[in-house]
Subunit: 351 residues, 2 copies
């Protein structure tokens, strides 16, 4: 009875640096340095190591490296949600730029809940990420959960939805320019009484969009009217509700600029159900350039947010922070320029 070896159903023992070292009769130091192209290793040795590594299909254990070096090649991202167009596109930009720099990306959703946002940040720290990239939940008004990130000396970058009046690094769209462009466009199309469907004012983006709206009115010498500004959470239903409210005003409106596309979609549906023509009676313009803006009838004019550029910019900022740690103490803000996509919902109002 030949003592047959037990089947290696156990862990297939991934090949480690130690194996390479034994095989080549050199020390692990040499292996490590050869693989990371250290200058103190001869070209010939490097070649031998590389060759053997390929032959044995050596896979570096990044965990061990991360443990030893105290930092991983993982990037953590926290976003409110990943439905719609904006965040997926930004994430796409982040992934692309990150992978170029040799980083992988973890994505977490806060679902607009600061509680979950807190947990997400914890999760990411647990995963020993090298950086944390955040777009805030709607109800985040307090930012202590990010202190831990800074305390660990990990770069922290906010994008799009950033903390108000905090000393942070961030990438944002010039929302004010976007709001201005959209409103200005409506004005140029002949609108004179333009309503604004505004978002929660503690979020920078909605404040800025509204400011753009106000500036555009001012630029055309039009006095803003309080009754024309409707605040809400920007859902589709909110948009319909707002329209019902606006239609009850004595002086009819002739245009609406919404700080989001969903709210404008709701407005459009409410208008159509009342038999009001868009854009002939009331012109519409939204914000975000969501996919469905090209589906509705008429198609919706909207402000595009340069999503992928934003993702790339976020990663660039992260890389700067991580290579120059002293830069932690200066505040950086990158501002991207939006672009207005003009479609039928706002065209040919006059003539």
């Amino acid at each position: 009875m030949t003592p047959r070896k037990k089947q290696p159903t156990t862990t297939p023992h991934t090949v480690s640096m130690a194996d390479l070292a034994r095989e080549l009769g050199v020390s692990m130091t040499t292996i490590s340095r050869a693989l990371s192209d250290h200058h103190s290793i001869g070209a010939a040795t490097k070649q031998r190591v590389l060759k053997l590594a390929k032959k044995l299909n050596y896979q570096p254990n990044h965990l061990a490296a991360a443990l030893r070096k105290g930092q991983s090649r993982l990037l953590g991202v926290v976003v409110p949600y990943i439905e719609g167009k904006f965040f997926p596109s930004v994430i796409q930009g982040i992934e692309q730029a990150a992978s170029k720099a040799g980083f992988s990306v973890i994505v977490c959703q806060s679902h607009e809940d600061v509680q979950i946002e807190r947990r997400n940040v914890e999760t990411l720290l647990h995963a020993q990420v090298a950086g944390v990239l955040v777009s805030l939940a709607r109800n985040t008004q307090e930012f202590h959960h990010f202190d831990k990130v800074r305390a660990r000396g990990i770069p922290l970058v906010f994008f799009d939805r950033i903390p108000a009046s905090e000393f942070v690094n961030s990438v944002v769209l010039n929302d004010q320019a976007g709001g201005f462009a959209a409103t200005n466009h409506l004005l140029e199309q002949g609108c004179r009484r333009i309503a604004h469907l505004a978002g929660p004012q503690h979020l920078n983006i909605y404040r800025e969009r509204q400011q753009g709206y106000l500036n555009a009115l001012a630029a055309h010498g039009i006095e803003p009217q309080e009754e024309l500004i409707i605040y809400s959470d920007m859902t589709q239903e909110d948009g319909a509700q707002a329209i019902r409210q606006l239609l009850m005003l004595p002086n009819p409106i002739d245009g609406v600029f919404g700080a989001g596309d969903s709210v404008i979609l709701g407005a459009l549906q409410a208008l159509k159900s009342q038999g009001i023509r868009v854009p002939q009676d009331i012109a519409l313009a939204g914000f975000s350039n969501e996919g469905f803006t090209a589906i509705t009838e008429p198609r919706l004019t909207s402000v595009d947010q340069r999503c992928e550029e934003m993702g790339e910019a976020v990663v660039r900022l992260f890389l700067e922070l991580s290579t120059a740690p002293e830069a932690q103490f200066v505040q950086r803000q990158v501002v991207l320029q939006p672009e207005l996509f003009i479609r039928e919902s706002s065209l040919q109002v006059t003539e």
Copy 2:
């Protein structure tokens, strides 16, 4: 001159188990076991450890644990894309179930490219994930890049888009039942010549949906017609193109079942631009229950895919595989039942 201590601008030295041990005058073993609720540690000691850990704000280094234990608490997900509704929702389900089980989730997009898919798998293995969850890219016809995953003994679960004729664990929707339900519904509404906008046949989901279509026809004693089945990549433009082609047939059609919502959206737009009424002249039904199905006019009937349930099921399957490694050698397939959402695009065709 008091010799003031140098500012600790250096690494804030995160508190480790060693610190706890020193503070409490016990060994690290005790700390580790107390924290993981090991039975050989006294209740009193556990309390002391837990209390101190909280007080010092001890954060476990999961990297070290993963290194030691040879497995992390990270789950890798590869999907073709994260736009639209389906994948975000599935991911949502995955995240939820995973976080309950103490896992975090990394998401990668293959962008429908098998090359990138390969790289994604590599990335995930580098990140030392505990499991790999995949929905295939459109052009993935060969599966060797997944061998490495199995070789490392890491659970591998496919969902929705799964390899044809491979020995794998998977979670899928009963696409055939979905195709049947949609087509059957059109038939019940009075349609008799129903076209099918089919997808790439090497993808299981599209084959199944088509089979459901054929079965429904057969169940009503209707002979399928080759000319009524149009194959494409299922984009919006493909849908419009297909309609143009179908309208040139001598015998007019009275219904269309599309294997996706985008392709049906294109069809709807093409029909409307030709002045053909939906659903009076031609009824429509799609697949996926995308968000925009409730926006179009008329709203689109569509098959819902139980996205979140799928995500949960995927994680459940992963957990089974990882706790019972011998189960690696049996094939498991979970099948979810779809649900038909009936809207105006298919209603009241007759009478």
